[in-house]
């Protein structure tokens, strides 16, 4: 089954500025994301990748073009709670314990108490933090906080997980651990992931497809299929094919610069 999860047709995004000037953040974006895929939006800062993610997630309206998610409008999809979002900052509520943070989306949907905590605890098991349920966010490391944020994003079993540079604030070692963790979670939940990053190795290691974007205005420079074997493991980064894919992505980026 290769149904389409996200479809973008001729999407433009223009941000008005003062004195009538405007910034073209995105221009003519056509993109299809298959259900179950892990797709990275890769590009330098200012290429509109976060803007594109927010348009898919109905946090921003496109200036032109059409977007469908699960065959619905993004607004419909958001109200059906098809999305889980993870940001660069964990954005945990500091006055809530870890369990309360993970349970927040369930609370918003009105799920009653014993089930709510049970479900939140399950999600904490998924990210292997169940023993930290009663901790406050400040008691956790940056990587652990981000795992809590991932658990929170997955509590409503979203069909689409939107991740905006989720590991951007972590050190390299933690980052690689988190990538492995995310691969495991993705395998277990079978959700579709749209992942924004400016790290080429990260995009290649994680994705089934890398969408390379270039700035001013933000456009899709090329799409690289990453057909490395699944599941991705520690040794994946040592395979020749992994290096080939790094080179391939890098060349798409460079071709655009010239």
């Amino acid at each position: 089954m290769t149904s389409v999860m996200v479809s973008l047709r001729g999407v433009d995004k223009v941000f008005p500025r003062r004195k009538g000037a405007s910034t073209v953040a995105l221009e003519g974006i056509d993109l299809e994301i298959r259900a179950g895929d892990f797709v990275s939006l890769l590009g330098p800062s200012g290429c509109g990748k976060s803007t594109l993610l927010r348009i898919v997630g109905d946090l921003l309206e496109p200036t032109a073009g059409t977007v469908t998610v699960n065959g619905k409008s993004p607004s419909r999809a958001r109200h059906d709670r098809d999305y889980g979002m993870v940001f660069q900052q964990a954005t945990l509520l500091e006055w809530r314990r870890v369990l309360g943070n993970v349970a927040l989306p369930l609370e918003v949907t009105g799920m009653a108490e014993p089930q709510r905590s049970e479900r939140a605890r399950e999600m904490l098991k998924l990210v292997e933090l169940v023993e930290f349920a009663d901790h406050y966010p400040w008691q956790l490391s940056g990587g652990m906080q981000q795992r809590v944020a991932i658990a929170r994003a997955l509590t409503l079993e979203p069909s689409l997980l939107l991740m905006d540079e989720p590991f951007g604030a972590l050190d390299e070692m933690t980052r690689e651990r988190m990538q492995m963790e995310l691969m495991r979670i993705w395998q277990e939940t079978q959700t579709t992931v749209l992942f924004v990053t400016h790290s080429i190795p990260e995009a290649v290691f994680l994705s089934t497809q890398v969408v390379v974007m270039t700035p001013r205005p933000g456009r899709v420079a090329g799409i690289v299929d990453i057909d490395l074997p699944q599941p991705r493991v520690f040794e994946t980064r040592e395979e020749t094919k992994y290096f080939d894919k790094l080179v391939e992505v890098r060349e798409v980026l460079r071709a655009e610069e010239e």
Partner: protein
Amino acid sequence: MGGLYRFIPLMVVAAPPISFSNRWLRSMVGFGVVLLVLAGLWEGYKLLGRTDLPLPVRADNRSMPHLWDIVRSIFEPARRGSEETLGWVLTKASLVTFREAVAGFLAGSVIGLGLGLLFVRSPLAERGLMPWVVASQTIPLLAIAPMVVLWAGKYRLPLWIPIAALAAFLSFFPVTVNTIRGLRSPSPTSAELFRSIAASPSQEFRKLRIPAAFPYLFTALKVAAGASVVGTIVGELPSGLPDGLGRQLLTFSYYYSSGPEKLYAAVLFAVLLGLTFVAVVALIERLVIPPTRRVAQ
């Protein structure tokens, strides 16, 4: 910073954070040290007064009584031929003032909170009214106090009402300003998070903005508590209310030349009253907000 941050869980397990009593002890010691330094400066300045140095403020016993004279006066009769010590008189006066201040503080906090909520909900109201709110704080309290007391007298209201109103007038402002700041403190990303899970505006308000505003609100309430004592005393001056601290301050300033230490003692009680009120609010804050969040501001 990231590196340090990752050690925090370890530290929590290895060494418990400084306990409540320990921290309390430390702040008390700090308070005592500052008190000693201030006392030393006061008496030191008086020593300088014995030399021929030209001093900006005179240091004789009438301008600056010895600290021990001030303290002793508290335990002596307030008036000649009276049994009551000055300390007891001032304690009774402080309690009267405290009650008025609490009434003013509560009224001011409710008004301040209401205005803050209104301004956050309605930018139009904020643009239109905020300048007036700011302007209100530049009105000299001393000038309007007699008017407010007069108006209240016209409607035969009990005396404490105009006094509490003046306290409220001083204390609502910090609450308004900090309510607005607090409710707007969540990051844009937090707002995006709530939007992404299709939370209703009222859910976002209750589960994000109000809890985020709490530390700001308590900072404001502590300022308001101090301000309400000031407002009460200023309100008492023209009211003719015979029992409050304001009246005592007024009386002792009339008889300053015959007993300057009594005025200083009354000032000391006013300061202690303000401190106590702020400490009570701080105690409530401790009970309401988990320890890690009090660092805000």
